[in-house]
Structure formats: structure tokens, C-alpha cells
Point group: C2
Chain length 427, copies 2
């Protein structure tokens, strides 16, 4: 989103289009109010039964600077111990390039078993604001049977993984105003209610002591997790100790009756992403502040609706807020959760392709705790499911310094792409 990089973004889109042209696909650079979207088609047509696969990726990356802790220029790729070290290597350049390699090879040999549309955008890291418009205006042209995205993690090295669900999100901001101006906490404290105190009570009330979210109605639409899913979660072999190690947390917590990996994938959350109020400089200051505020996000699971959840939260806060402060709730973005039963539709095809690419290894089934809003948009606008066949590893440091991608996963990914298109054609 850095305006200074707009020219480089356009150059990247042009480079992608030329690459698609080299592959003998038909590329087009679609202008948007933001970064352009690159579309590229390979259509054989003919049989009405012939399937079309939409492969989504993004060419934009997170900002990076040497000062963040990089051991070399983040935009000058280095190959170290079989890993490509560069910003975007795993998120999402390496992953989308593996699919391009797979399709390119097949086209040289006469073409893959399905028609293919690549859709590579440049605004994923800043909310994909302009992509829905492109999908809607190009709806017929983008008609397909299924979408494929490699922008998620594998459960671990050599653990081919099908992500069959994502959490949604509902983001809110809460601001409380007590006195009209900051007061001396000696001269007024005890009689004038402190908005920070009220805020701590409101926010502490978001959870039950059991770790469950306490907003009335919050769990009403939460789907029941199937027995096979809890088995699959166990099969991931990501013990609580591993999550604790990654987080560097003194101890884990959360909703009773679930493992860490289950809490992250299968259960919704209420999270305070930021809180602010009063004096924050060094040492003490005896102020009774006028305002206090907090940023909240709720991670959602099927079939929770981000707007309904925001409504429930706002109602609960309003009900519990005392008359001593004024409450203002601002809504930020929302994203629907996603769930695609891997035993149905194209799920088994994806599993088979993943297993093949990793030499017959068992495929893991993962519920991702994060949100990829575009997956729900694809479902809503194009009416198709998305196969989330990630090639990234948990320690690839997406968004962090020295982001890496295993160079051999380019070949693996290309093989997986070829197997996947073949399997999809056969469904």
C-alpha cells in the first residue's frame, strides 16, 4: 500500500503478464482504483464436460526493511541451505509461481486436463478491496468449477495439507467518554467514574471464566465439529507444547475441552487487539482521563455471520455499559468463515493430488485460524468452493524478516498443480 511502490507494482503486473504470454496463455492487466489485477486464461474448450479451474494468488507483499532484522536485502533473493530468502518468497510469489510452473509445463506438452484461469491480484495484503468488483464485472468470463489457492501453511515439512476451513472475522472499535476533559485524579477521583475502569469491566466481561466468549447468543450458530475433524486435528501432531513454544508463552489457555490446535481452528474467539487510555509516558501521572478505547476482533467459525456477531457484541456492550460514560462503537471490516468438507466435491481430488506430489504421504486436514476473505467472495460471486492447498511451512516467516520458501517446493508445487488439475478433470 506504500504509494512510493506503485510503479514497482505496475512493473510486477507487467512482468507477470509477459510471463503468462511466454506460457502461451492469454494475459490481461485489469486496472482497478488500486493495484492492477492480472488475469491469464488457457482455454481448450470443446467438450461441455471440460472443467475450468481458477487459480488465485497475489503479487503484493508486506513491507520489509533491513532494520526489521533481515540478514540481507529483502528484495534481492538469496538461496541459503535450499531456501529462497526474500520478501514474498512464501507469501505469495513462490506459491503462485509453483502453479504457473505446473501449468506452463503442461501447456508445452499439449495442455492440462482442465481449462485454467489465473487471477493474481496486488492488494491481498491490504484487504483485497478492489477484487470483488473485478469478480463481479468479469463474472461470466471467470466462470469456473472450483478455485485453487496456495496461500496457507502445511502442517509441517513433508506434511501435505488440505486446509478445509478458515475462520471469519468481525472487527469493532469501542470508545468510552466519561468526563468532558481530563481531570485531576485526586480532586475528582472517587466521585467521577473513570472510563478506563468501565472499559476494563466491559472487556473483562467478554469471556466466561471457562474461556468461552460471554456475549449472549455468540455460539448460537456455531456448527458442531464432526468426530473425524477432531481425529484429523489430533493427526496433525501439533501438540500444545509446540504452539506454546512458537508463541513463547508462559502457558496456554482458552476454552476448556479443546486442544490448542482445535481452539485455533474450530472455535471462535474474542480478542482485544489494542487498548488505550490516559497517560502512557514514563512514570506516574495523576490523571482521570476523559476517554478510553479498545480495538476488538472476533474470529468466527461456520456458520457465524460477521454482521450478526457485531450486532450481538454491540448490544451486549450497550446493555452492560453504565450511564456514567458514553459508549461509541465503530464497525470495521468483516469476513465470513469458510468450510468445505474435504470428503465431498473436489476435496478427495485435492487430497489425492497432494499425496501424489509428496510421494504418497498421508494428507493432513487443517482448519486455519486466520481469515482469507476472498474465499467467501469467490463463493458468493462465482458460486464455487476453494481448495486451499498451501505450500508454506509454519516457520517460513511470512510477514517477518528473512521470509523463506523451500526451493524444492517449487517443483513439488508444480507436480501438485498438475496432479490436481488432472484429478479435477476426472471428478
Amino acid at each position: 500500500a506504500d504509494p512510493a511502490r506503485a510503479q514497482i507494482m505496475r512493473e510486477c503486473a507487467t512482468w507477470l503478464a509477459s510471463k503468462f504470454r511466454e506460457m502461451r496463455m492469454e494475459p490481461e492487466i485489469v486496472a482497478t482504483p488500486g493495484a492492477p489485477v492480472v488475469l491469464a486464461k488457457w482455454k481448450k474448450g470443446g467438450s461441455a464436460k471440460r472443467r475450468t479451474v481458477l487459480i488465485y494468488g497475489h503479487y503484493d507483499v508486506q513491507p520489509a526493511e533491513m532494520g526489521d532484522g533481515w540478514t540481507g536485502d529483502p528484495f534481492e533473493p538469496r538461496l541459503i541451505d535450499g531456501m529462497v530468502v526474500a520478501r514474498g518468497s512464501t507469501d505469495n510469489k513462490g506459491q503462485i509461481f509453483a502453479h504457473m510452473m505446473g501449468v506452463a509445463e503442461k501447456i508445452k506438452a499439449g495442455g492440462p486436463e482442465t481449462d485454467v484461469i489465473f487471477l493474481v491480484e496486488g492488494e491481498e495484503e491490504v484487504g483485497s478491496d478492489n477484487l470483488e468488483g473485478v469478480l463481479r464485472s468479469r463474472k461470466e468470463e471467470l466462470a469456473c468449477d472450483v478455485a485453487v489457492i496456495s496461500d496457507t501453511n502445511m502442517a509441517g515439512p513433508d506434511k501435505p495439507t488440505l486446509t478445509y476451513g478458515l475462520r471469519g472475522i468481525s472487527a469493532l472499535e469501542v470508545e468510552l467518554t466519561g468526563p468532558s476533559h481530563d481531570l485531576h485524579s485526586g480532586v475528582y477521583g472517587g466521585a467521577v467514574v473513570n472510563p478506563i475502569t468501565v472499559l476494563t469491566r466491559l472487556l473483562a466481561g467478554l469471556h466466561h471464566p471457562t474461556g468461552q466468549v460471554a456475549v449472549p447468543g455468540f455460539y448460537k450458530k456455531v456448527r458442531k465439529v464432526a468426530a473425524w475433524e477432531r481425529k484429523a486435528a489430533k493427526a496433525l501432531r501439533v501438540p500444545d507444547a509446540e504452539v506454546k513454544r512458537q508463541a513463547g508463552s508462559p502457558a496456554l489457555g482458552g476454552e476448556r475441552g479443546f486442544s490448542a490446535i482445535e481452539r485455533i481452528g474450530m472455535r471462535p474467539t474474542a480478542e482485544i487487539n489494542g487498548i488505550t487510555g490516559g497517560y502512557q509516558g514514563p512514570g506516574p501521572k495523576t490523571v482521570l482521563p476523559s476517554k478510553a478505547s479498545a480495538k476488538l476482533t472476533f474470529r468466527l467459525v461456520p456458520h457465524q455471520d460477521p454482521k450478526e456477531i457485531a450486532d450481538l457484541v454491540e448490544r451486549d456492550l450497550k446493555k452492560r455499559c453504565p450511564k456514567t460514560v458514553k459508549l461509541k462503537v465503530t464497525r470495521h471490516h468483516g469476513g465470513f468463515p469458510y468450510f468445505c468438507d474435504p470428503t465431498k466435491g473436489f476435496g478427495p481430488a485435492a487430497s489425492k493430488a497432494l499425496s501424489q506430489a509428496w510421494g504418497g504421504k498421508r494428507v493432513d486436514y487443517l482448519l486455519e485460524g486466520g481469515t482469507i476473505p476472498i474465499v467467501s467472495v469467490i463463493k458468493n460471486v462465482l458460486g464455487v468452493e476453494t481448495l486451499l492447498v498451501g505450500l508454506s511451512l509454519p516457520d517460513c516467516r511470512a510477514h517477518g524478516p528473512d521470509e523463506t520458501f523451500p526451493i524444492e517446493y517449487l517443483e513439488r508445487g508444480a507436480k501438485m498443480n498438475q496432479a490436481l488439475l488432472k484429478e479435477i478433470a476426472g471428478v
Copy 2:
């Protein structure tokens, strides 16, 4: 405390000393590691029964700039509608100068009825860090029967007021660390406990729903307020509506069973002066932060001890803090509460003097919610009580822009000083 003002501070001390010399007192500028203290004595001696009064004031002021909302240069006094408008006019230059005027006039006429020591420091606004050392090293020289300070508010215009108590203070800072680094709230939220969430629970637990402080043992040493005190509080005629108006608060709150003015003067508090954690910029950010912290002050009433209260609070926080975060408590300053029964000792003398200076008006008795730590230091080191005979009005805007002091209160204050010394001599 602005180092750029150090030279002006020294000039101010020199001016004060020369003023005391003009008054035919014996001034001395006492160097400290910070701003100098100005001492000035007028001793007649003779009778062993002759009393000595220590009059305390401070020549330092809060910072002030035009940008704060001043309607003229804050350091160029203006006389507007009978009010001196200038930084320090009420806090504390006008109030201490009234005492100097009173004593000067009496010295011309042969001297007041008591010996007098002025002690005017330059670090009141930054915690009086060096004053205790001066008191201790000059203990014999500063021996006196009672101290007098005019650095508090009157209950209102033409309401002569004897402040007979001050709240103490105990300041703490709480920091919680959860994960060792900021995490993605999607990827870890639900399993890794958010330190902001824990902080809101710990802080919400500082109060009972009744408004009482919930820290075990907090009220153990709180003295019982006498019936006459509640009568005196009522006689102040400061209704809750007036406190609400001053604060611009939607509604007042606090401990049940007390009026606003009683809650401020007679009851202790737990206040959150600042809270911080996670993302505070515009819009949302899905971070699960590593740290969250808050600044707390507890206002204390007799006979609470600031160190004991800090111990109780720290013990309570440690007991309630879950294992999912690391708790760090930092102690800031403490100050003892103060209480001096106005019906005993020199109290009646002060009441009589106040009433005389205001033409026989009834004297109000006030408990101040703020803290003046030096009053306890005077009691501890010199062993004497302090008469708090404030000349400031609630709307004099001490510490604020366009600070004012009624010019006629210089004369009133001088008369009050003369009456007070005479009454003290007669006790």
C-alpha cells in the same frame, strides 16, 4: 523541571531573597541538587513562650505556552476584571505573596506576635524531592510550633476554608507479558492468552460492584469519619450536580452511601491513570500483543499507609494473575494522608483568623482529595501540624491556561496572615 528554565529559577530565588531582605528578614538561599530553597527568618526571641510559625510556599510553576489556550503571555501578568492572570498567580505566587505582605506590614509596625520562618521551595510541582533533605539538615534551625500553607482551594468565593485533611497516594505500574513477541491473532488466538484480556480482568477486579475497592485489607486502617465531618461536608454546599458540572461527566458514580464531595475527601480510591497494549493506530490490526500495562494510583485516607497499600495491591494482583502471563509490578511514589482535627491544637486559631479576614463569615471545613506530600514530611521531620488555609478558588485554573488569582485576595490573605499569627501567639 525544564532545564532551560534553571537560570530563571535561580533569578526567582534571588528576587525572593532580596524581597525578604527589604522586609528586614534574614534570607538565605539554600542550594540543593535541584532548585534552591529560600529561607527567611524574623526572630524576636526573648520569652520562651513565644511561638514560631513556619510558612511554606513554592516559587516554581507548571509549564505554560500560548498553544495551551492562554489569551496572553502566561509569564506577563495581566489584571483583568480584578483578577491577576498569569502562570503561578494562584499556584503559588499569589498565595505565598499574601503571607509575605502580611508579615512585611507587621514588621514595619514592630513585628508580628510570633517568630516567623518562611520556607519557599522551587520543586513542589516536580515532587519536592530535595526538600526533605533540607528539613532534616536544618531541623533545629527550622524548629517551630506549627506550619502554615496556603496552597489549597477555598470552598468557593467568600467562603473562608480550613482544609483539615488531605488524601495520601500510592502509585504502581503493572506490566503483563504473555507471548514473547506479538502474534497473529488469527493464527494463535483462542489458544494463546492475550495479556490485554488478563489485564482487563485484573483491573476490573479492583472494584466491587458497590464501587468499593476490592483489594483485600484495603479498608482495614481507614478511620471512621466523625458525624461533625459529614455535617461540615454538607455545609460546603457543593452538591453532586456541581461536581458533575465541573467534570462534564454524563453521571457521577463511586462508593455507595456517600455524596460526591464525601467520596472525594473522606474515602480512598483505586484509579487507573493509564492503560496501554497492542495496536493503537487508525483502523484494525489483527495482533495478539506480547505486552499490556497500566498505571495505577490509590488515594488514601487516614490511617492508610502508602507502602502497606502497595503491598496489599501487589499481593492481590499476584494472587489473581493467571499463569498464562508474567506479572511485573513497579512501585512509584507514595505520600501519606493527612488529618488535623480543626477543633484541636491551632485549628480554632486558624478558623478565627479566616473568619476575621472574611468579615466574620462562617468558616468551612474541607477534606481535600489531592495530596501534598510535604505536609506529612513536615509532621515527620519537624513534628508539627500544618494549617491549610488556602486562598485559591475552584475556578482559578491552577495548572491550566489563564490561571488567575483575585487581586483583592492579596489584601485578604495579608489580613488573614496577621490575624492567624496573632491567634497562634495567643493559644
